[in-house]
């Protein structure tokens, strides 16, 4: 009797629950039936529209296709992709967001906010700016390199691991943290795409959420020495016909009390790995000459790099943080920006270079 009563009670109870709502699970995640997205490429589609593309299917061994849509909203695009593709797209595995340069210049905050509020997406999503026509590149390369989306991700992941200075790697969280912080401005890597190639170009500086300037080659290498892990594997200076390898930097920056000048002392250690110039570097005095040339060359370029940041009113190296003090009131963002633009920059390099050995001249 008691048992029957209990059973009736239970059945009653569950029927209440079942009538109020339907089955608890409404999403179908059967792996054979879905297409997890690995990247989005977003560019501006004109008239305030967005153009988003992705490659499907990313996993299964089927012929890959590039899907492109013109939409007003990002999520609207994700919905419409399902209508033109026979597998449902799921965003949970998204690893990269590539943004076209034109769109980055207009501001990316609404785009990034959309991703940030999606708990399915990892905070470690890589962000990058693409210059040129990325869709063309994919269409052309699809036959030669079917899993190029995976290769791209693997490359970013590889260089991120130890921040080894080959290229700037930024994920969603780092971008947002810099965007929100009082003084610093976010950075993103820039890649250049055309029909046949996809190359790392340099680093983009953002002012708030808008792309302000891009630095390349020498500037970018110097930037790596100041940021990231204070290391570049190869510092090539074609102007002096010399390459320094395994370069480690120790950067010491100091602001003076009234924020009118910034003195930067950099200790660089590395080894000369290549020399194709005229000097006979078997002689110590010639090596000293070369070292001095390198020193002044680096100083000149570093000054120019900082000048560029000041002109663009960006502070990607977070120099403004130096004005913070445990027991003092922090500067306002505008105050710092004013100081920063007029700041005198003094650069002093200390080079510790191992000369080339075992060579014949």
């Amino acid at each position: 009797m008691v048992h029957r009563k209990r059973a009736v009670l239970l059945a009653f109870f569950f029927s209440i629950v079942l009538t109020t709502g339907c089955s608890p699970f409404v999403e179908n995640n059967t792996i054979e039936e879905i297409a997890p997205v690995t990247f989005w490429y977003v560019s501006s589609g004109g008239e305030g529209k967005l153009k988003i593309s992705t490659l499907v299917p990313p996993l299964v061994k089927e012929k890959k296709r590039l899907l492109t849509l013109q939409v007003e909203l990002v999520k609207q695009g994700i919905k419409q992709f399902n209508l033109i593709n026979y597998r449902e797209l799921k965003a949970g595995q998204t690893r990269m967001l590539l943004i076209s340069e034109e769109l980055a210049k207009q501001g990316v905050i609404s785009l990034i906010n959309t991703l940030l509020t999606d708990p399915e997406l990892s905070q470690r999503l890589y962000l990058a700016v693409v210059r040129g026509n990325f869709e063309d590149y994919i269409r052309n390369q699809l036959n030669a390199q079917p899993s190029l989306d995976y290769f791209l991700y693997a490359m970013l992941k590889h260089y991120e691991k130890h921040y080894q200075g080959e290229m700037t790697i930024v994920n969603l969280h780092q971008f947002m943290k810099k965007l929100y912080s009082r003084f610093s401005d976010p950075i993103l890597p820039v890649f250049k795409a055309n029909k046949s190639s996809f190359t790392y170009e340099g680093t983009a500086f953002f002012r708030n959420d808008k792309l302000a300037a891009t630095i390349k080659t020498m500037d970018d290498q110097l930037f790596q020495l100041f940021d990231n892990d204070y290391y570049v594997k190869i510092l090539a200076m074609p102007a002096l016909s010399v390459t320094i390898g395994r370069v480690r930097s120790t950067v010491h920056m100091e602001l003076d009390a009234n924020y009118s000048s910034l003195s930067i002392k950099i200790d660089l250690s590395g080894r000369i790995e290549e020399y194709r110039g005229e000097k006979n570097i078997l002689y110590p005095e010639e090596v000293a000459n070369l070292t001095n040339e390198i020193k002044s060359y680096l100083e000149k370029n570093t000054k120019a790099l900082f000048k560029k940041m000041q002109q663009e009113k960006v502070d990607p190296l977070q120099v403004g943080n130096l004005s913070l003090h445990p027991f003092a009131k922090p500067l306002k963002k505008e105050e710092w920006s004013r100081y920063w633009q007029q700041m005198k920059i003094n650069v002093d390099y200390q080079l510790h270079l191992q000369p080339l050995i075992n060579i014949k001249k």
């Binding site: 709502g21 921040y163 912080s181 892990d229 003090h325 445990p326 027991f327 003092a328 009131k329």
Partner: protein
């Protein structure tokens, strides 16, 4: 059902774990976003010391003769009619505590793990687990705190990498002192004080705790662990987000969990959030038993045998309350959520008042 049988008493380590787990509940996941400024590190420590003083007062009650007698002790102090009035007044904070903590947790699970699932299912499942534990009786529920503590306390160790570069920079902690003459919004202080509340529920459990002089030591230890956890998580979230970004984030600690990565599985946060459920199950179970006990006192059935019908109807009342609050009154942003704020006020209120009130009552009785 021998729900309230007190056959054995529990040693101090249970007191430590219980106080600690009752203090840390929903608040541990949202506290950093109320504090924001780095000088609130000192705020946590200051409030922790204040809470310690409060616990000293509470320990006076525990070392008095009245505590060991349990319900009869209260009756001796206040008289049966007054006790019943107090219990009626106590029903609401207990109910609110269960509702807010469960719904807060459910909301988090809904946001991060099952965004497409109906909230009712989540509420039902976590609450049923709580009911199951509580049905095992008070003695077993107290024993359950061991599981709740051991399964939850180590999680904070995972955040250790966030203290080091490249994720962290010391500049995010500067300035360390308030630089203008404000001490921050009142709400951060309220959130902070209420996040230390919870130990006052121990007065409902005195019969199960062995009467001892050393309880002061255990309360101190528990409070110290709580202070450490709060400071640790707050500093970690400051270093990870920086104060300005932290100000804009809704569930900072869960977001930190999302950033962790492991080579085996990708979304550690789902597992961490699920493990954190033990803590809630414990709290729900113990508060549920308090609620049930309180109802029995009010109905004057204290000396009768507990019945299954009585217990199930107590559970149903709470469940219905949760459904109602969830359906019509729950606001998704924790910052503006009326219920969370109300729970903070009430938690702060009960935590400040109950120890002092009991001490005064003992003093008065002693004088007579």
């Amino acid at each position: 059902m021998a729900t309230f049988a007190s056959s054995s008493t529990y040693s101090g380590v249970y007191v430590v774990f219980m106080v600690n787990r009752l203090q840390i509940l929903f608040t541990i996941l949202i506290l950093p976003m109320y504090l924001v400024h780095s000088y609130m590190i000192w705020g946590i420590i200051a409030i922790g010391i204040l809470s310690q003083l409060n616990l000293l007062i509470l320990s006076k009650w525990f070392s008095s003769d009245f505590a060991a007698k349990g319900y009869n002790g209260f009756v001796e102090l206040f008289g049966e009619r007054t006790v019943r009035l107090f219990v009626i007044a106590g029903l609401f904070p207990i109910l609110l505590n269960i509702v807010v903590n469960t719904l807060g947790y459910v909301q988090m699970v809904h946001t991060f793990i099952f965004p497409s699932m109906d909230n009712k299912w989540l509420i039902l499942s976590i609450f049923l687990v709580g009911c199951y534990v509580a049905a095992k009786g008070m003695a077993n529920t107290i024993r359950f705190v061991m599981i709740a503590f051991l399964s939850g306390a180590w999680i904070i160790l995972l955040f250790l990498p966030l203290f080091f570069p490249p994720e962290a920079s010391l500049y995010d902690l500067y300035p360390l002192v308030p630089t203008d003459w404000s001490i921050g919004p009142w709400k951060s202080w309220l959130a902070l004080w209420s996040s230390f509340s919870g130990p006052e529920y121990l007065i409902c459990l005195t019969t199960w705790l062995s009467p001892q002089q050393k309880i002061r030591k255990y309360l101190t230890l528990a409070n110290a662990i709580t202070v450490f956890e709060y400071v640790y998580l707050f500093v970690a979230s400051l270093l990870f987000f920086g104060p300005h970004y932290l100000n804009a984030i809704n569930f900072p600690v869960v977001h930190m969990g999302r950033y962790l990565q492991s080579p085996v599985i990708e979304r550690i946060d789902t597992i961490l959030l699920s493990i954190h459920m033990f803590n809630y199950v414990f709290a729900i179970a113990i508060l549920l038993l308090c609620f049930y006990g309180a109802v029995r006192i009010i109905l004057g059935r204290l000396h009768k045998q507990t019945t299954r019908t009585g217990y199930v109807s107590a559970c149903l009342v709470i469940l219905i309350c949760m459904f109602i609050v969830d359906k019509w009154f729950w606001n998704a942003t924790a910052r503006e959520n009326f219920w969370v704020t109300l729970q903070m006020w009430l938690g702060a209120f009960t935590y400040s008042l109950i120890p002092v009130f009991l001490l005064l009552a003992i003093k008065r009785k002693g004088a007579v």
